[in-house]
Amino acid sequence: MGLRDLVVRVATRRPRVLVVEMPGGAPTRMAVERELDRRGWPVGTAPGSADVLLLAGEVPEPLAEAVELLWDQLPGPRARACPSGPGDVAHELDAAQASLRDDLQQRADARERDREPASSWVEDDVDHGDHGDHGDMEMAPGGIPLAEGDDDRDGLEMDVLVHPLGPLLDHWPGGLELRTRLHGDVVAQAEVHRPAAEAAEAADDGPVAVATWDAVATVLALVGDEVWARRARALRDQHLGLDGAGDQHAVRAHLARLARTHVLPHSVADVLGRLLDERLDPAAHRLSDAALSSLLEGHDLGDVRLLVAAHAPLLPLGRAEEVGHD
């Protein structure tokens, strides 16, 4: 074995996987997390440093273009895994690792790619054709329009930026898209969209306890509490009927501790507690899109991620119209 082979093997021993849930893909995503835990592969949080893009669940037509944009952001060597169901996960991960190790294939992939950075996601109305108008360039450097001014909540004028969250994001409910207006890092306004609502309709929620422990695990993973997130995932798998075991009370006590020390916002700890106590029934207390956006407005970007993760069991999977209010 040559030195090059050795480096490739060492480099691909534990590839970093960016796991993106598709609408209705929660069971597959849970199976992926289980398998990644077993293998000790790290979960990525940004496409820029990920090796594998894993799409959990079927990619619906409206998201196909966005998936290509995300795929383009992986620097490479890169591999894509699309397990069709929980049973397919181990095989897909093996295939992704093998593809990463295939130097010839990776080099061919790199040659075909455009070296320029991916263009702006903002729909630009600036015609950057052959005119060299300096004024236009200043208004939209690189084709990205500058932030506009708006009244801040403190009554000061603030730069306002339109920033999308989702629909393709790690640790995020499949298919949910938030179009936020940011004042600094505070979400002043959030519009809820579901670009692929139909795809999720056939999906089965599964037991409530599974969705709840899943939400706990996601919240803990988001605050970087990896050890306790793994314990919550074990409890979730136990409720799925798989072999996993854990001390439910210990995790609940830990959640209370995190709320006391303000690691978690109170509303996050509160909704998780009520879900665990079964005082909130996801079937009866569906969160409408309007309720979700009013819940998120005024929080900073980090808290918004935590709030969405904690309320995930209450989010409707399908179309918003069919869902009653809280």
Binding site: T45, S49, P75
Partner: protein, 306 residues
């Protein structure tokens, strides 16, 4: 000629020590997140190979010079911090103002982390950069006042003199608040553990979001190296420098630095990330006065001892 050779040997020694400290920090951090020991030791080489093989990417209209420059400078700052540490009575960069230089270097990190967020021309990067500035305001003042305590007790800003002045009773023992404030500051400028919100997962890795390949490798290596370098500077400041039985002083400095690095990284890997806007208040209203009281106690002890 011999002076040049000595300087070269010293610099390579400092670089090696910095990398060893960074490796120790990363292994201990990974152990804390629940991986086995052997696996954790291999984490750094594996991650290095992975990121060296990964291609560089850039973003639209990135400020490449400042972005890349800031990332690569973190390791340099860590090496300079290690160069301040007196190994066997003398440091590579000796000086009567060692304590001040250590403080200056940790403030350079403010600019570097902020530029890392700024340079990528990305929303979450910039959010991470500003979070770091807010956090730095919260940890830096307690850190500065914590540095005052050992300098006051030893009557000198020279790290070698501070180390020598401790005798059998280490400053960490009778200045626990200053020691703790210093260690919190180290985690702050290494952007690891509880004060790592600028690179937090809930904002998609914040200042690290757009980094890839070798650029990410040097930044992560720099963060672990800064943790190790901060721990190494704590050895002359709080842990008696090279004092210890049987072994030569330089070995004791290295052993203490490695042990403190491992312990600090383990704690950092074990704890969740704290939210920035919740940190400012307790750090300034509770922690800062406590550190100032610590300085007062030290000053009284020094005056009484005369």
């Amino acid at each position: 000629m011999t002076e040049l050779l000595i300087a070269l040997a010293g610099s390579s020694g400092v670089l090696l020590a910095t990398l060893l400290l960074a490796w120790t920090a990363s292994a201990s951090y990974v152990v804390a997140t629940g991986r086995a020991g052997g696996d954790a030791l291999l984490h750094a080489p594996r991650e290095s190979a992975r990121l060296l093989r990964q291609r560089r990417r850039t973003t639209l209209s990135a400020d490449r010079l400042l972005w890349r420059g800031a990332g690569w400078s973190l390791l340099l700052v860590a090496a300079l911090l290690v160069a301040l540490v007196p190994w066997d009575g003398s440091a590579l960069l000796p000086g009567s103002l060692g304590v001040v230089w250590a403080n200056t270097l940790d403030i350079v990190v403010w600019a570097l982390v902020w530029l890392l967020g700024w340079g990528a021309n990305s929303v979450v990067g910039l959010v991470g950069g500003y979070r770091f500035l807010a956090l730095a305001l919260a940890y830096e003042l307690p850190l500065m006042f914590a540095l005052v305590a050992p300098a006051l007790a030893a009557g000198s800003l020279d790290l070698a003199v501070v180390a020598g002045a401790q005798g059998t009773l280490w400053y960490a023992v009778w200045m626990p608040v200053a020691f703790a404030a210093y260690l919190l500051g180290v985690l702050g400028f290494a952007v690891l553990g509880p004060p790592s919100a600028p690179a937090g997962r809930e904002t998609g890795s914040g200042v690290l979001t757009e980094l890839s390949g070798p650029d990410l490798l040097v930044v992560n290596a720099g963060r672990y190296a800064l943790l190790g370098a901060g721990a190494a500077v704590a050895v002359p400041l709080f842990l008696g420098g090279g004092a210890g039985p049987w072994l030569p002083g330089a070995v004791w400095v290295l052993v203490k630095a490695l042990l403190l690095t491992a312990a600090l990284a383990w704690v950092a890997g074990r704890l969740p990330v704290l939210r920035v806007h919740r940190l400012m208040e307790p750090l300034w209203t509770v922690w800062l006065p406590l550190v100032v009281v610590q300085d007062l106690v030290v000053a009284v002890v020094v005056v009484m001892g005369r």
